[in-house]
Symmetry: C2
Subunit: 232 residues, 2 copies
């Protein structure tokens, strides 16, 4: 219940939809109240009242009060995975992932005002910022799995059996659909998440000097180049 299973990210049933609506309403109420009165002045009772549900229901959706401030869009990571897996197979993994993330970030611009408030809340409450960072990374496991699957897929489309690198996308033993991601997949997922985070952070401090797209591109260029010492 507390952990979205990814299937309901597209959600057809009326029930699922309503649940996601209440969850979103609670999160939005929490962010708006926190932006106005300060995060630690907002009680669960106030959030629940603003969302039109009981206090007890709040705890049916969030494990703790702070969780309501931490997650903005619970389904974002699922969408990124779908976009990544739908990318043309000949694209290098890093580029495919970059484009999938860029698409999602453009989509997020639509909710710009709420995101801005959310950023303000996190900036004024280091405690919550830490939780947010941790939550971002929790999504990595799923992304790493998708990367591993994509690598396996592009694998047998080329030529099947061959002596393979000792530890590429996924470990050799695998039930070909849900094997534990290998070192490369894990690392790529983690680095991509890091790239998003860093570019957002950097851009948030200088919204006027450069466009976000430029920062985003520069970060991925640096990564693709192997983080060389900065040219002088």
């Amino acid at each position: 219940m507390h952990f979205m299973t990814g299937k309901d990210a597209v959600g057809g049933g009326l029930r699922e939809r309503k649940k996601r609506a209440t969850r979103a309403a609670l999160a939005e109420a929490a962010v708006r109240l926190a932006a106005e009165h300060g995060a630690d002045q907002v009680t669960v009772e106030a959030i629940s009242a603003a969302a039109g549900v009981s206090v007890r229901t709040f705890f049916n959706y969030f494990d703790s009060r702070d969780d309501a401030f931490v997650v903005v869009d619970a389904d974002a990571s699922e969408r990124v995975r779908q976009a990544f897996l739908a990318a043309p197979p000949e694209l290098p993994p890093l580029e495919a992932l970059r484009d999938a993330l860029a698409a999602e970030l453009r989509e997020a611009e639509r909710q710009h005002e709420l995101w801005s408030l959310h950023a303000r809340v996190l900036r004024s409450a280091p405690h919550l910022l830490v939780r947010n960072l941790g939550a971002q990374m929790a999504d990595e496991s799923g992304l790493a799995e998708a990367i591993a699957r994509r690598i396996r897929a592009g694998d047998d489309s080329d030529d099947a059996g061959r002596a393979s690198e000792p530890d590429a996308g996924a470990p050799p033993e695998g039930d070909a659909g849900r094997a534990a991601p290998g070192l490369y997949a894990r690392l790529l997922a983690a680095v991509a998440g890091t790239a998003v985070r860093v570019s957002v952070q950097h851009w948030c401090e200088r919204p006027d000097e450069v466009s976000y797209a430029d920062v985003f591109r520069e970060v991925f260029d640096l990564l693709a180049a192997g983080l060389p010492a900065p040219a002088r």
Copy 2:
């Protein structure tokens, strides 16, 4: 009080030393109790009793109960920064950072048993794992600043004035000692932290197949090569 200022990482005063001792005692008690009874069964009262202080004192050291499970060694990041800044100036930033981290990780092997317990606790409590991940990343700001400083330092040692890249280690305007880190410094700090985390995670799941040093080296090789699509 709650945030170590880095100065007391080396700690000369008796007062500082005792504070760090009690803090360490509380953290260790928390981890050991959690490893035995499960994290959510451990009350603050139990932790405080095991460490020989009052409940109220516990909250003088930690903002919340969970914080006691999250941080293992509060001074580790400070030591890494020192080691990084002490590295020979001709080393590329990525390699200097890699070596500084490797040294700290070798040092951490000394407390292997406690670290192992801590890992078990985090694995059995996703809630705490997320907090731990977030806490790791909170150290990045300091590291990014150190990187920016090092880049500036190696800068005027070579040849001073020249048309510089628009956004290298640090933004142009800087009070030459505590300027906000630039995009490159931020990214390098973040990626390095990610590298440690991913290598540890990956190795923890396969402690027998390969040595940690090998995983660690492979990760940094992949990063230095720009995360190329895995060879087949």
